[in-house]
Symmetry: C2
Subunit: 425 residues, 2 copies
């Protein structure tokens, strides 16, 4: 023990939900409630926004059954946000407000479950607290279906989307196979704005030549339309039809997105462009150029929340990261993110580690080129070796009498505000 | 026994695949192999097309393990088609060709697993055989995710798509809920060209007011855009955001589809228009008119093949229909479709029956108005009572060491042709 003053813990979730982000929250809450140096556990509604606006609720007031139910409840039960804080110079007032909220509630442990942007926020909170002499432990817990955080072997959330999307690809592939003569091509659009990790996971579905997907395209490899149409045509000639996985973030040789989503909200608050039309665009091109019928599946947010077919390995690691975050905090660490370190491949064995937040903040881990084949249109054995251990087992789901899963919701007992009202701009 | 000559059985699958159409095939094959009056079991590649082109394979040559594996293999393992035969007058040559193929292989039992159109084909084959004095038993086995066959209480295939889509709606709904402030609306597009059965099944996901989906729209109720936008706006005001299920086949007051899919293949060979753009269209309208961000999920063919989360009740009934078809055939029935009759609601109990094919051919069972609420924007208790028993249990899935399901494929040992080559026009 490092002499951290006894105080409250605050947990917040950020960014796009995953099937197992609540397993990390469960790990934090259950471990924090066991720690004598932690006086209570608060949740921030809507991620960092809730922390800024002092919109907090008492996680210790939730039942043990609800907290345990987080293990089989998808999405961010505490509440999430997409709200990026800028630099300590430009957004100083916001960081100071955060610290004021922490001080007002004697919050001494801040656990932030999120991706690249969140680790940047957590790092700045950590820096400011240290500069200000406020004794605070800030621990980042990795979460992203995109699997694009650096240093950690992989990210909680990825194994589950990988398992579900690979399975959905197998299933849709059998549909295509049965209907080759009629709908020759099925396109499956996988999430992944900048990286091909999820699309590549769909590639795991292919065990032999006839299996879907016959082709996989990722954003890391510049997309060439003529080569793509040639690839599809080759597969149709060989097998009668094709099931093709494309990442939503495909880019051409000049680095431009192949297709940005139409609609009135072309980019989110981070300035990221919202994508989504790649599969539909390619479907129309295939029909026009190859003269065969094509269709597309875009599973959208269903893919990242599929707890009903989540990886048990992923869920356990997500829990472990949450639990380890608390242990790190009470033993005096701060300004670090929990990592997963693969210590053995066969049998697969993984342990936690830590890395300074500044080393992960705003950095992106791309799919290594060697995880794809030479032609750049399918995965390699290296990708299989990497990803297969991450999708083992399925998370047990509590079922209702109506034949559907039972998910939990927090009671959300509000913590009375102690500061003047403050609205995030 | 009715004195049907000992002979071969032929099994064919037709139309869009389902998660459990292979369970019906399994029931046919396993029961047929037990019947002394059935000399062997053949499969038709690509449904009725394979029968027409004498493209047959020997199902009895498949291993018991493969045949049993059909129970956990989605889509149409025998091979399917969309190929409609016309009237006995207009398409006489095709029907006669079919009968010639049957005679050439001494096929005395024809089992056709399909939907409305297939029952029409089966009926005509039955009629022509009788007119021609060829002793043939023709039994239809219901199959459609659309659940739109008349007389039968429900159709094998429906319970599984219902269970999966309701679960996916629950999961995506939790995503929306966590991100209300940012992505206010999630639209989920359910299959259903003419009927709202699948969209209505998504409504089962809602157990309390906060649950997704808050709104459900079906083709049977004319779609009014202003009322829709008002409904969505109401939910956003009340809860902060909304998860909305729309059927791909929504129609306006004049009966026109709200949106037909773009692309070069606007209709299939039956003259049905191909749909698919409803959710994307409504997403853009919501953004433009309500000034909130929206997104859409279109699970496409993944929804109808989701064996990994299929209803055990549905799978068992699909098997039972296949098995009963064989028993009916060998006991002398012909020209009938197997039906499911709900004999008790609580506890749920279902038995098989039969109905003349001509009474189901080309008829459509719409979602009854009373299965929707008065406002026409969600389901009623009657729909819950009807559908909940159909989604009970989950089909056990054999898993590979790679963490993914194991599906089977037939060896497809071809039956030598006995007739001159004939190509379907």
């Amino acid at each position: 023990m490092s002499g951290v003053p006894r105080g409250m813990a605050l947990v917040a979730q950020s960014g796009g939900p995953t099937a197992v982000i609540n397993a990390s929250a469960c790990g934090v809450i259950q471990e924090a409630l066991r720690q004598p140096n932690i006086a209570g556990v608060l949740g921030a509604n809507r991620g960092i926004l809730g922390a800024l606006e002092e919109d907090l609720f008492d996680l210790a007031a939730e039942s043990a059954e609800t907290i345990n139910g987080l293990l089989s409840t998808p999405s961010a039960a505490i509440g999430s946000c997409r709200y990026k804080l800028g630099s300590l110079v430009n957004d100083r007032a916001k960081y100071e407000r955060l610290l004021a909220v922490f001080q007002a509630h004697n919050i001494r442990h801040f656990f932030y479950i999120g991706g690249n942007d969140s680790m940047d926020t957590a790092d700045k909170v950590h820096q400011l607290a240290r500069e200000s002499g406020y004794d605070l432990r800030v621990i980042g817990i990795p979460k992203t279906i995109d699997n694009d955080l650096p240093i950690t072997d992989h990210c909680p959330g990825y194994g589950s989307v990988a398992k579900f999307m690979a399975t959905a690809t197998m299933e849709a592939g059998r549909d295509t196979e049965a209907m080759f003569t009629f709908d020759a091509v099925t396109l499956i659009e996988a999430m992944g704005r900048n990286t091909g990790w999820i699309a590549a996971a769909c590639g795991l579905a292919r065990r032999d030549e006839r299996d879907a997907p016959q082709l996989v395209y990722v954003p890391e490899i510049p997309f060439n339309l003529d080569r793509f149409l040639g690839d599809v045509d080759d597969v149709i000639r060989r097998l009668g039809g094709a099931c093709v996985v494309v990442s939503e973030g495909l880019k051409d040789a000049s680095g431009e997105y192949l297709r940005a989503e139409t609609g009135s909200f072309g980019s989110d608050r981070f300035g990221h462009r919202q994508l989504g039309g790649v599969a539909e665009y390619l479907k129309e091109l295939i029909e026009a150029r190859l003269k065969v019928k094509a269709r597309f599946n875009k599973l959208g947010t269903c893919q990242r929340n599929a707890i009903h077919w989540a990886s048990l390995t992923d869920s356990r690691e997500a829990y472990l990261c949450g639990q380890e975050a608390v242990r790190q905090a009470v033993s005096g660490s701060s300004g670090v993110m929990i990592t997963l370190e693969r210590v053995s491949q066969n049998p697969y064995e993984c342990r936690t580690g830590t890395v300074p937040l500044r080393e992960v903040a705003n950095k992106v881990k791309y799919l290594p080129r060697e995880y794809m084949n030479a032609a750049g249109n399918h995965i390699s054995q290296a990708m299989r070796d990497y990803a297969s251990p991450l999708i083992q087992g399925t998370v047990p789901i509590r079922m209702g009498e109506d034949g559907l899963p039972i998910f939990v919701r927090f009671r959300r007992q509000s913590v009375p505000k102690r500061l003047p009202e403050w609205k995030a701009p």
